[in-house]
Symmetry: C2
Subunit: 268 residues, 2 copies
């Protein structure tokens, strides 16, 4: 089916999910929506996040997408079930795929979730895991230092990253959990250093990597894969000024064919 | 939803898939159907395999299952699309999940499929991979020595296994493929030795492990997970004599709570 996949986030974090969809499903066209004017969602009241998420998803639906990927943990926790009820097309969040991958790969049913304050407070990962398998122990830790490091493009500075990891994660080194979920779409850019921090003794799950696979599963069962060889220009919609977005896009996903649109969501 | 999941195979191979569903989704009840009277399917004409698969699936549907898992590569290749058209409930084969996992984990888009003659000749893995991502190189190898080793419970004899692996796989040692799909539900019992054979240099994908995860994905999106804490006795239906089946079941999946039923499928 030659319709695009809609991917949304408050900002640039969801690009880690978009990048994995492009890698695993190269025939699919993506329309990405970054709600930069109202970013970040993580510090806003839940009801406001829900309202913004529905507005952005409505805009993507008006563009004719065949599926919506909520590539933001905060928005998923706030609005996934509303979006599922609102549209006939599939809606995929980042929490269920990460939870499912942890259930699959953990051998001792003991997992850690690293996330923003908002996601930790929502308990969404614990609920998603227990909905599928009640035997799991789920420990969550808020990591407020991580998003700024990624947003400010300091994630390539190993010293900065290692200091932040040590300060935030040192209490987890001796824990029995064998699996760590990266419960924020910014964290995959720190994944290599996080794996090294745990000395390879904990399995580190990247939600973008897992969400792209779940997109593939749902497209197979809804028979909506793009025709082989379909390669269209991706569309990047930015609510607000796009200069910083384009700079980060070029750093994270170089060499893709895209066009950018600045819009004012209030007009919709 | 408190309905069981139907899992089918010509014999015992599908138990490797059932075992992973039990591990990842412990609240789900399974009705397993082993068509031992007509096992193996792999040497029969495709049309006959298709007919048998539909008969078995019809029987599972008559038992009120909420989903059918075709836990046999030969039956999946022969009949998956027929079953998808025939029922309103989801039907999941083992080929798409294995193909999807290979696409996800390969870094060089170069994969090897190990399978029975029937599955290799069907080209089903190559087709499934190319349907999602046309850039992959897919090399298939029939491994006729592997099923008898597992069926005759010689898989614990490291000498027997290593000789068979060397004879069958030695030509693959120097290849560039970074991922190997175990395209037969018997092969996961040899997975550890196959990983060692490749010296950890090729990622080995277990279709049962991946199929159980896909069952979980589809249940989330169809909202049909069992209620937490639901633990019912599994049902093992054997078309024919069950003594050998029960012996292997006890060896592969000890400590589960199940009841066995011998039936004569011709009566249906």
């Amino acid at each position: 089916m030659d319709k695009p996949i809609g991917v949304m986030d408050s900002g640039v974090g969801g690009l880690t999910v978009a990048k994995e969809i492009m890698r695993q499903l190269p025939d699919e066209q993506i329309i990405y929506f970054g709600d930069l004017r109202r970013c970040p969602y993580g510090d806003r009241p839940l009801e406001e996040v829900r309202q913004y998420t529905v507005e952005v998803a409505d805009h993507l639906v008006s563009r004719g997408v065949k599926m919506i990927v909520v590539a933001c943990n905060t928005a998923t926790a706030a609005a996934l079930s509303d979006l599922e009820d609102r549209y006939d097309i599939p809606v995929i969040g980042v929490i269920n795929p990460g939870a499912r991958s942890a259930i699959q790969s953990s051998n001792n049913q003991d997992v850690i979730v690293l996330a923003t304050n908002a996601t930790v407070n929502s308990g969404a990962y614990r609920d998603a895991i227990h909905h599928i398998n009640g035997g799991f122990r789920v420990t969550s830790l808020a990591c407020p230092k991580f998003v700024p490091i990624v947003e400010e493009l300091r994630y390539k500075d190993k010293v900065v990253v290692r200091v932040a990891l040590h300060q935030t994660l040192k209490g987890l080194l001796g824990t029995s959990a064998d699996t760590v979920i990266l419960g924020c779409t910014h964290y995959p850019l720190l994944a290599g250093e996080i794996r090294d921090f745990f000395g390879g003794r904990k399995n580190v799950i990247d939600s973008g990597y897992e969400t792209a696979r779940e997109v593939s599963s749902i497209m197979t069962y809804s028979r909506s894969h793009a025709a082989p060889g379909n390669r269209k220009t991706h569309v990047m919609i930015v609510n607000g000024d796009s200069s910083r977005f384009e700079y980060i896009l070029g750093d994270w996903i170089p060499f893709i064919d895209y066009k950018i649109e600045e819009i004012d969501l209030e007009a919709y």
